[in-house]
Symmetry: C2
Subunit: 383 residues, 2 copies
């Protein structure tokens, strides 16, 4: 069964002090229902991606909570929370996609939400998506792990701090065109390169800000989709792959095998090549992750990722615009919401609804990564 | 596609001080692989139910961890953690079931695991599957919420503390016949009725012990199942329903609508009546929950649940043996593992592998509940 996106919604991303977890979630959900012209009773199942509501807001069992708080409890539909670190949103999307593709359901919500600003140790909690016993306990939190990845990429392939900074500059520039982005200001290369190290060689501007936010997409089977929208966006493939959780066990820390495997499978299912993709959202939790994603997704050969940003290929007016939304770096990284938020951006781009950041695109791709690549989800969209 | 269980595994349940989260998980997984005569490389996806590894052991992203630690990382298969309070295991089972039933995968692992004894506040964490803002914050933790359910059931239907105690006595007796149970000792009615109140009218012996443990079932499509086993046990239906998370929002706190809805749907899909079921595992997180389950599953009309335990109908030699394993009360309640552990028991019973607690059964049912009924999963098995 072909699967279409018939509605999207997204809260503002940022430090949403005035909103609780429930409010953030519902604001995105209502927007998506309105966008899809649904009342709510058409929904047959809900999948919600969330990394750590247990630690961030002290609440587990949140899928039931969301059905409750959104007024859908009387439907008694199955509501499932899925978790895979900051790939939780992508995994929720894939489960929802499978529920429709299999013919089991016709209209399904895939949501992602996270509220991180109620606690003082947000990064410590985020780092629990790395291997806590083997990595974090020894001081290797997420920035430190990505710093090791960056250092190895620099040594082996000649990638420079300037290249990393250019990713940040690009994504900040894109975010100025996105009303819902967290950081809507341009930065220049000098600012990025003069910012303090968080974990050498990664500076402040190489690290995405974890923040509050929620996103929702509503999926429907092709036949049903036409009842609700004239601009369905189709999901041509949605694949997931896993890898060793701890970096130390991987064969090569400059490649995420989960991304390679998931993307190759997605291309095969969709019947496309990397060059067929017109617009991309990747998981730039750290700038080095965007450069590695260029390579692992097959846009350029291994080691030459930095060239794409140096030559402007991935800029908004480049050949393959990457992170037109502003990416995790400048749109903000609401952890479990990010995978869905990326899908929202691709859908808006393919519909032609992306406003000032609109690019010309018929085929889009999103890549959501958990931790340092223990999980990867790749989704291919077409209009 | 018809779905069969081809292998089961279960760790001991209890205070497993000598084992970490990973060890517990793997011990159950290895047992299941051996039981199914699999090497491991046949596995196409893993679903793991876990409520709160984030708070219990400080580790999120555990599906990837499990693929890693079980030596399956090089397969790069999709690994998904699902969470729905203490119905996490049941929800994992259902997702795995859907993955096979849809024809997407042929061999899938459904696992559940929890390690709760590394922290001093295990019950507080468990209570985060109730509504933390509306219930727990005001002092209504899980025992208190179930106490309100019990009190209302007593007032409206005349259920007595003795009836609750008889559930506990029955389940303790069954557990003496189960080598993996946590509490393998009989108790008498007097002991139960003289134990201190935890939340009046619920006494110590009305409350299941949360503990460490892991369980695994391996599912396969019917055709593939025959390659690996001569005694496949079929899943005839696996349904899930949700409800308001907070008790205060429900139309009637003596009925779990999620259980009513999920079971009626399961009976319909399986083409059976409640009376066709020969053996049952229900979610007796508190003794009152077992009595309500009798009613909500349709074994007896609403309000008359206590009669079944008074008259011995649900004893091991009764007409409908319930919780032959010892139930959550005496086998132990390893939170996210429980839903899978229940499936393991039903499979053993239907295979004829249940040892001294064997009952005569062709059709079995398991009921896994999250919190006070925000989520319910009902699974019907046949041999």
């Amino acid at each position: 069964m072909r699967v279409a996106v018939i509605g999207v919604g997204c809260s503002k991303f940022g430090e949403l002090w005035e909103m609780g977890f429930r409010d953030i979630m519902i604001s995105a959900g209502v927007e998506a229902l309105e966008d899809a012209n649904l009342e709510g009773k058409e929904i047959e199942a809900i999948y919600v991606g969330n990394m750590s509501a247990g630690r961030y807001v002290g609440q587990e069992h949140i899928a039931s909570l969301i059905a409750d708080y959104s007024g859908l409890a009387d439907l008694h539909i199955p509501c499932v929370r899925v978790e895979a670190g900051d790939a939780s949103g992508g995994v929720a999307l894939r489960q929802a996609y499978m529920a429709v593709a299999s013919g089991m359901h016709d209209v399904v919500i895939a949501a992602g939400a996270e509220k991180v600003t109620d606690v003082p140790n947000a990064v410590e909690i985020l780092s629990s998506c790395a291997d806590v016993e083997w990595e974090v306990f020894n001081g290797a939190n997420l920035p430190a792990l990505y710093a090791m990845i960056a250092r190895m990429h620099m040594r082996r392939y000649g990638t420079k701090e300037e290249d990393l900074a250019m990713v940040s500059v690009k994504n900040h520039k894109n975010a100025t065109l996105n009303p819902k982005a967290m950081f809507r200001r341009e930065i220049d290369l000098e600012t990025a390169l003069n910012s303090p190290y968080v974990a050498e060689p990664l500076r402040l501007f190489d690290c995405s800000p974890i923040c509050d936010g929620a996103s929702v997409v509503i999926l429907a089977s092709e036949d049903v989709a036409r009842k609700y929208t004239d601009t369905p966006i189709y999901i041509e493939a949605c694949t997931q792959a896993s890898d060793y959780l701890a970096l130390q066990s991987r064969r090569d820390i400059t490649t995420m095998d989960s991304v390679v495997q998931a993307s190759r499978k997605a291309y095969k299912i969709a019947g496309i090549d990397p060059k067929d993709v017109d617009v991309v959202e990747v998981h730039d939790s750290f700038t080095i992750a965007e450069i590695i994603a260029y390579e692992d997704l097959g846009f350029v050969e291994k080691g030459r990722g930095a060239e794409l940003v140096r030559e402007g290929v991935t800029m908004l007016d480049g050949e393959i615009p990457v992170n037109p939304s502003g990416g995790l770096k400048a749109f903000g990284h609401a952890v479990g919401a990010t995978g869905i938020r990326q899908a929202v951006e691709i859908v808006l781009q393919l519909r032609g609804d992306a406003g000032k950041r609109q690019v010309d695109a018929e085929m889009g791709l999103s890549l959501n990564v958990g931790g340092t690549g223990g999980t990867a989800v790749v989704t291919v969209f077409s209009r």
